[in-house]
Symmetry: C2
Subunit: 300 residues, 2 copies
């Protein structure tokens, strides 16, 4: 099995980056694409994100060996229904969504009999839209595949090889575990970033101008994440509810314990935690998952 033609449905940051990465790293693979927004299709044509832009999702997938759905996870079911009729029987259907159990359920319900192998490349920026993508987005990032039990192994390997060509490293796990892991490494961080930015925006005693001026004290880091696409993130929280609420419970317990330590003046408890947390950053840098330069290499 090999991929000769890939169809990308949804041409925002992720879809556009896949198109660009294929053109750069696997130019023998033909690309087609579709986006529900005519303005995005026009921009994608202008930028040449994929070779052929169709005016319907069905047309985009008609000759595809692989279809990658790059839409918010709440729109996966509708996107799958839109391609159902035209989808070649042997095509692999995958996606890039941040929650996997809901996507697996939605795609299997809409596309019975098709090879559905959900995937999540853990990569992105705070920007969105067809102009935001770039070919190197997936380099040295992990792409998690969550094939259902009994999935065709050859199809899993074919999809893995596709992502490896774009520079990604592959991990395979079940959808439920993915959703728990990503709740802590991605969904809760986004939730608390959105929250603190909201809190800071709504204060009466501290003006918005003050928040902006003194944001270099740490707050500005959170505003990057809190500038992410609202629809994408709304859908993540609605579709990974139980894992998010579970991990949020753990976070809140830990925060309450620190609050108590501050109130009681327990400096040792604070110092102990603040010392332990350094190790995990070293691990991230050693694993090549972050820029080792101070302050992410920001310009000073």
């Amino acid at each position: 099995m090999s991929i000769d033609r890939v169809a990308i449905i949804g041409l925002g940051l992720l879809g556009g980056s896949i198109g660009r990465a294929v053109a750069q790293h696997a130019p023998a693979i033909a690309t087609s694409g579709y986006d529900a927004d005519p303005a995005v299709r026009a921009k994608a044509r202008e930028l040449g994100l994929v070779a052929t832009i169709s005016n319907t999702a069905a047309d985009a997938v008609r000759d595809a060996d692989l279809v990658v759905l790059c839409v918010p996870v709440g729109a996966m079911a509708a996107a799958a229904r839109d391609i159902a009729e035209a989808l070649p029987p042997q095509a692999i259907v995958s996606d890039v969504g941040s929650s996997k159990q809901s996507v697996l359920d939605d795609l299997r319900a809409a596309l019975p009999g098709h090879a559905v192998i959900p995937a999540h490349p853990v990569a992105g920026t705070e920007q969105s839209g067809p102009e935001a993508g770039f070919a190197s987005l997936f380099e040295n990032r992990w792409c998690i595949l969550t094939p259902p039990e009994g999935a065709d192994e050859a199809a899993v390997e074919t999809l893995s090889e596709f992502w490896r060509k774009l520079g990604a490293r592959i991990e395979i796990m079940d959808a439920e575990h993915h959703d728990l892991v990503l709740a802590v490494t991605s969904h809760i961080p986004h939730l608390i970033a959105y929250t603190i930015v909201g809190t800071a925006s709504d204060l009466e005693e501290v003006t918005r101008g003050e928040v902006i001026k003194y944001s270099a004290g740490g707050f500005r880091d959170f505003t990057r994440i809190a500038a992410s696409d609202p629809t994408m993130w709304r859908d993540v929280f609605l579709n990974n509810k139980s894992a998010v609420l579970e991990m949020l419970g753990r976070f809140t317990e830990d925060l309450t314990a620190l609050q108590r330590a501050i109130r009681s003046g327990d400096g040792d408890k604070l110092h102990d935690l603040f010392s332990r947390t350094r190790a995990i950053r070293r691990g991230i840098i050693e694993e090549g998952q972050d820029d080792e330069r101070p302050d992410f290499g920001r310009e000073h």
Copy 2:
């Protein structure tokens, strides 16, 4: 009034950066320095962070027009006592601490009759120690001065001019308001970053290896802040307790409201917040307080 000789007590990230910035931007000002740690003094000599490194704090300040205390806020009182005897009567005493009411109280108690003008340059990185500093750290960053009521206006202007020479912009406010503003733009962001990194490190269902591998989903941003100096941050929370607890209460209320929205599937409430939070990032970039490149300009 002008500054001809500045003494820097504490030669870590902030003290070292002031030394380097003076050498670059105001080379006519003579610099002396001291650090309580002999290894830091030796490294500071090797790096030439200041022109003269003394073996006691008293010796370092003996001829100074301006003394800048660059030690954790919990060590300010002891540092002030150490210089009290040798401090020239007309010298301005300032600092770089992240909480200001506690520092103002500590310095005035230890140095009665001296011109005490606390200051907080809102700048830094996650690194610490004498090798971490650099001359451009303060460029285009705000330095907040919190002179006590009745402070000598000429001294305030002299200190302002010193910081302007290092590239900083000056704001003046009272210490109590500073502590409230910085609680939200700096202290709470650090507290929640330390907390989530601690939560993720302690999970049983998700391994530390998984947290590291998939950290590019958002978590890695928090690990940078949570790699900051433990002693400095312990002291901030112990010395700005009431403002931190107040702002933490607001944050927790807002987080609970979002938790409820997730539980009840209220997508509109989530989408509304996630849309509002983008504006403040635009403000920060327009104000020159963050790198406008996607992902802070991280290397991909």
